[in-house]
Amino acid sequence: MSMPEKYDAILIGAGHNGLVTAALLARAGLSVLVLEQRKSLGGAAATEEIFAGFRVNTGADDAGLLHPEVLRHLDLERQGLQFVESPVLAFAPQPDGPPLTLWRDPAKSSSEIARHCDDDARRFPEYCRLVQRLSALLQGMMTLTPPRLHKTSLAEAYPWMKLALKVKGLGKRDMMEFLRLLPMPVYDFLQERFKSPLLQGVLGSAGVSGIRFGPRAAGTTFLLLYHSLNGGAPAGRASRFVRGGMGRLSHVLAEAAAKCGAEIRTESSVSRILVDDQGRAAGVALATGEELPARSIVSNADPRRTLMDLLGPARLQPRMMRRAGNIRLRGTTAKLLLALDSLPRFQNAPPGDDHLKGHILIAPSLDYLERASDDAKYGRISRRPILDAVIPTLTDPSLAPAGKHILSVTAQHAPYSLKEGSWEEQAPELADLIIGTLAQYAPGLQESVLHQRILTPLDWERDYGLSEGSIHQGEMGLDQMLFMRPMAGCGQYRSPVKGLYLCGAGTHPGGGVTGAPGFNAAREILKDRKRRGDNRRGV
C-alpha cells in the first residue's frame, strides 16, 4: 500500500479566511490541501443559486471590512475582484415619519439628519471624524498578532509598541478618549452625542451586530468602531459589495490559491484531526474514513469545534479543555433570503432607488435594540427584531433575472438556545415575523415575495459547521478580543497541540469578511516553519 502524499498543510474549511491562509501558504511554496465540507466555497462568504435564477449571498453581504492589507498582499483586484460602493450607507424607514438616509458623504448625511434634529446634524461631522480616527487605529491592530499574555518577546511586542506610540501620537485627549470609549456601552456613547432616537438606533445597531448583548452592554462601542472601518463611519457599515456576489471573493481567493498549486476539495468533511505519539497534529481523517497526513493542520472551523470536537476527546489537557468549553458563542443571528418580483416600497421614501442600495435598517431606537436583546436573554426570539437588509441586485443586477430582486435580511435576535420549542418549529414563525415587521415599513412586501428561505442559528451550526450558530465563531465581547481570542494560551493562531493552527473568525481580530485572521495565521505558520527549518540546519 502506498502512503498518500503528505501535505505541508491541510486547511479544514474553505471559508474566506481559510482561503486567504491557503493562498498565502501556497504562494510561499507549501503544498496545500483545502477540505471543505459544503458543495460551495466561502463558508459564510458564499453566493449560491438557492432559487432558480437567483444567486444569493447566503452569509455575509457587505465586504466593507475586508482589510486593505489583505487585498494588497494578494493583489485581489488584479485577479478580477471588483467592488461596488453604494452612495448610501444606510436607510432607516419609519412607519409614520420621515426616514433617515445616511450617505457615504458625512456632509450629505448631516443635511439628512437635520430633518430629525439640528443639534445632531451639527455634531455629526465631528462624530464621523472621531470614529474614523479611532477605527483607523483598530485597523492597524487587525493585522498584528496579539501579544502573548506573558513571556512576550521583544519582536512580538514591537509592532504593538509602535501602535501604542501612534495612540500617543493621537494626542492626549484622543488617547484617553480611545481608552474610555473601548469598554463603553454604545448606548452611553451615542447618548452623549445625539438626541434623535432613529440616528442612535441606526448607529447603535452596528454595536450589537452578531452579539447577544444590547446597546447598554460594555464593549459595544468597540464593535461600532469595528464596523465603521473603511469609510463606514457615517452609518457603522461600509456598504461595499462584491460584483458577482460575495461568493466571487471566495472564488478569486480560491483561484489565487490554486494558481500557486493548492488543491481544493469540496464535499470533503473532516471528522477528526489526527495526533501522533509525540502529541503533534499529523493529519486528518475524513468522514469517509480516508486519512490524510500533513505537517501542519490549519483549521478554519470555529475554535470550540476544532478543539473539542475535531481534535477528539482526551487530547487536550483539562485546563485548555475547560477554556475551550468556556468560549462564549451564543449565536443570535438569523438570515431570511427573499426573491422578490419587484423592489419594496418604503413609506415616505425619497424618489429613485439610491436609498435602497446600502443597508436598510429597522433599528428605530436604542431602546428598541435593548428590548430585542431582552428577549434573547430569556431564550426567546425578539418579538420586534433588529433587521439589516440588503438588496444586492440593485448594485449588481446580474444576480437575478431582469427586473427581479433579492432581499437579504439579517435578523437579530434569534438565540441558538431557545427556552421553549425547537428551531424546526420556530423557523417558519420567524420568517413570518421578519416579513411582517418589514411590511410595517414597506406595505405590500408580502405580495412581491417569489421565494423565501430562512437560515437559523441551528442551520449555521448544521450546514456551515458554526458551533451554536455563532457567525463570528465566538461572541465579540471585550473578554474575547485580542490575546483572549479565542482563549488565553491560544491567541497567536497556534493551538495547544503542536502543528495545529487556527485561522478563522474565532481568532483575532474576529468576525466579518476581513481576511485578517487568515492573513495573520499564514504569517505565524510560515514563521514557525522557518524556525523549525533553522533548527534542523542547526542539528
Binding site: 502573548r148 499574555l149 506573558h150 512576550t152 500617543k168 492626549k172 485627549r173 488617547m175 484617553m176 478618549e177 481608552l179 474610555r180 470609549l181 469598554p183 463603553m184 452611553d188 452623549e192 448583548f213 447598554r216 452592554a217 460594555a218 464593549g219 485546563r319 468556556n326 462564549r328 431602546d367 435593548e370 431582552d374 436573554k377 430569556y378 465581547g477 471585550l478 473578554d479 490575546f483 483572549m484 482563549m487 488565553a488 494560551g489
Partner: protein, 527 residues
C-alpha cells in the same frame, strides 16, 4: 479676619473623615465642614424611630482598609467590626441555599443543588483570592496617567506592567475576564445551579445600574470581594453601633490628632483667585481661608457646583457632564416587634445573624434590571437584607429588631410619576416580596422607613442617589475615574483636591480614596 487653615475638607463622609484624619496626622491644621448635624455622610447610624437605631444608608462593611484601621487606631476610638458570617438565599419553593463560615458544611449545602458546583466553589474561592491579591496592588496606588511622560507616571505604568506580567498567564487571563465580563458569565464558567450563580453574581450589581448579564459587572463583584484578602473567607462585617460607628471612630481619631470638625456648616462656594484656591464661603456668609481645600463630595458638587464651570477647562466640563451616576438602589429600614420567621428555616437560628439574599435565580435578577432600564422600580427586586439587632442587640429594644433591606433596582429617573408619589409603592413591593419568604413579616412591622434614590440624594447629597458617587464601570475606573486628568486627586484649580468615592479606587466603605488623596496632598505640601 478668620484664621487660615492648612486644609479644609468639605464633607464629613467616611472618606472626608479619613482624609482629615490623615492630614491632621501629617501635622496640618485641618478643618472638616459637614452640612448635616452629624458626620458620616452615607455611613451614619440614626435613631429613626424611638429605641430603634439604623445604619440608615450603607449597612455592611467588608472593604475598610486594614491599614486605616491600624494607622488611625480606630479600635481605640470604638470601632468593632462584628462578623456577618452567613448568607441565606431563600427560594420560592421553600428551600434555601445556606452558606456560612463552616466551609465543608457549606459545600454540602451547595452539593444539594449541584455536586459539580460544590467542587467548583473551592476553585472559585481560590481564583477570587488570587484576583483580589492581583487587584489589591492597583487599589493601593495612585493611578499613573498613561498620557504623561514624567518619571513618576512612567515608573507607575512600568510598575503596573511588571505587576501584571508577574501574575503569569493563568491569573492574567482570569483578571482580563474579570475586568471585562458580566458577573453572570463569569460565575457560569464555574457553576450551574441557579441560587448559587444568582447570589454570587448579585455582588456584581450592587450599586450599579447594570444587570448580572451586563459586561463590566464581574469587576464590581471582585470589588465587593476585596475585603477577603486580609481576613477570613467571607470578611463581611457589621460595625458595632451600625455604620455610623465607623464614622464616629474615624471622627474621634481625627479630633484626637488635632482636626477640627464643624457640623451644620454648608459650603456655598469656593474662593478662587487666579486659578488658585484661597478658601471656602459658607452658606451663612462666613469665609474661611485655607492653604488647601479638599472636597469629598461627588464631581457634580466638587466641580460643577462649588468650583463652577468658569474655573474649569471646557473639555473637563464636558467629561464631567458625561460622568455616569445613575442611582439604582433604595433602602427600606424596618422596626420589628419580633424576630422574622423564615419559611425555609422556621424559628431562631444562626442564619438570623447573617445576610439574606433575595436572588433565587439569574433571570430573577436580570428581570429586576429590565424594569429599571425602562424607568420602573423592580416589581420583584433583588434584596440584601440583614438584621443588625441580631448582631448588635443595642440597635433595638430587647426582643425587638431592626431590619435593613438594600433594594435594587430603584432607578433615579422614573418613566412615569415621581419618587414622592411612588415611595410607598416601593415600600409595599419590598414587603410583599419579603413576605413570600418571611410569612410573619407583615404582622411584626412596627415602623418602616423607605429611602428612594431621591431621598438618598436629598439627605446625603449623592447625585442621583448613586452610592458609589458614580458607576464603577470600566470607562470610569483607575486613571479614568472620575475623568481623564482628575484621577490623581488633584484638580485644575491649584491646591484644590478631591477625595471621595468618585476617585480611585471607588465606592464602598474602604477609606482608600480618602487615604490616598491625603498622602498626595501631604506630598505636595512638602515640596
Amino acid at each position: 479676619m478668620p484664621d487660615r487653615y492648612d486644609a479644609i475638607v468639605i464633607g464629613g463622609g467616611h472618606n472626608g473623615l479619613v482624609t482629615a484624619a490623615y492630614l491632621a496626622r501629617g501635622g496640618l491644621r485641618t478643618l472638616l465642614l459637614e452640612r448635616r448635624p452629624i458626620v458620616g455622610g452615607a455611613s451614619v447610624s440614626e435613631e429613626v424611630f424611638p429605641g430603634f437605631r439604623f445604619s440608615v444608608f450603607s449597612y455592611v462593611v467588608s472593604l475598610l482598609r486594614p491599614e486605616i484601621i491600624r494607622e488611625l487606631k480606630l479600635p481605640e476610638h470604638g470601632l468593632a467590626i462584628l462578623p456577618l458570617e452567613s448568607t441565606l438565599t431563600p427560594l420560592p419553593d421553600g428551600d434555601c441555599l445556606y452558606r456560612d463560615a463552616d466551609h465543608y458544611r457549606t459545600l454540602r449545602d451547595i452539593a444539594r443543588f449541584s455536586p459539580r458546583d460544590a467542587e467548583a466553589y473551592e476553585d472559585y474561592g481560590r481564583t477570587l483570592y488570587f484576583m483580589a491579591k492581583a487587584v489589591k496592588y492597583m487599589l493601593g496606588i495612585m493611578p499613573p496617567d498613561p498620557t504623561k511622560l514624567n518619571p513618576r507616571d512612567l515608573i507607575g505604568m512600568g510598575g503596573l506592567g511588571r505587576h501584571m506580567l508577574g501574575l503569569g498567564e493563568e491569573k492574567l487571563q482570569t483578571l482580563t475576564k474579570l475586568m471585562t465580563m458580566s458577573s453572570a458569565d463569569f460565575v457560569e464558567e464555574w457553576f450551574e445551579s441557579e441560587p448559587l450563580k444568582a447570589t454570587l453574581s448579585a455582588s456584581g450589581i450592587i450599586g450599579t445600574f447594570l444587570g448580572p448579564r451586563s459586561p463590566g459587572t464581574a469587576y464590581v463583584l471582585l470589588h465587593h470581594y476585596m475585603g477577603e484578602i486580609d481576613g477570613n473567607f467571607r470578611a463581611w462585617g457589621f460595625a458595632r453601633g451600625g455604620t455610623g460607628g465607623i464614622s464616629e471612630a474615624i471622627a474621634s481619631s481625627a479630633c484626637s490628632l488635632g482636626a477640627e470638625i464643624r457640623t451644620g456648616a454648608s459650603v456655598e462656594r469656593l474662593i478662587i483667585k487666579n486659578g488658585r484656591i484661597l478658601g471656602v464661603a459658607l452658606q451663612n456668609g462666613d469665609e474661611i481661608l485655607s492653604r488647601t481645600v479638599i472636597s469629598s463630595l461627588d464631581p457634580r458638587h466638587t466641580f460643577l457646583r462649588l468650583a463652577g464651570e468658569k474655573h474649569l477647562p471646557g473639555e473637563l466640563v464636558a467629561s464631567l457632564k458625561n460622568y455616569v451616576y445613575r442611582g439604582s438602589s433604595a433602602k427600606v429600614n424596618l422596626a420589628l416587634d419580633a424576630a422574622p420567621d423564615f419559611a425555609c428555616r422556621p424559628g431562631d437560628g444562626p442564619h438570623l445573624r447573617g445576610a439574606f439574599s433575595i436572588s433565587p435565580d439569574l433571570d430573577y435578577l436580570e428581570r429586576a434590571y429590565d424594569d429599571a432600564k425602562y424607568g420602573r422600580f423592580s416589581r420583584q427586586p433583588y434584596m440584601d437584607v440583614i438584621l443588625p439587632s441580631m448582631i448588635d442587640p443595642a440597635m433595638a429594644p430587647p426582643g425587638k429588631h431592626v431590619m435593613s433591606c438594600f433594594i435594587q433596582y430603584a432607578p433615579y429617573h422614573l418613566a412615569e410619576g415621581d419618587w414622592d408619589g411612588q415611595r410607598q409603592a416601593l415600600g409595599d413591593t419590598v414587603i410583599e416580596t419579603l413576605s413570600q419568604y418571611i410569612p410573619n413579616l407583615k404582622d411584626i412591622i412596627l415602623h418602616r422607613q423607605v429611602l428612594t434614590p431621591l431621598d438618598i440624594e436629598r439627605t446625603t447629597g449623592l447625585t442621583q442617589g448613586n452610592i458609589f458617587q458614580g458607576e464603577l464601570s470600566l470607562s470610569q475606573l483607575f486613571f479614568l475615574r472620575p475623568a481623564p486628568g482628575l484621577a490623581q486627586y488633584r484638580t485644575p484649580i491649584r491646591n484644590y483636591y478631591h477625595c471621595g468615592s468618585a476617585t480611585h479606587p471607588g465606592g464602598g466603605i474602604t477609606g482608600a480614596p480618602g487615604r490616598l488623596a491625603a498622602l498626595e496632598i501631604l506630598r505636595d505640601l512638602k515640596k
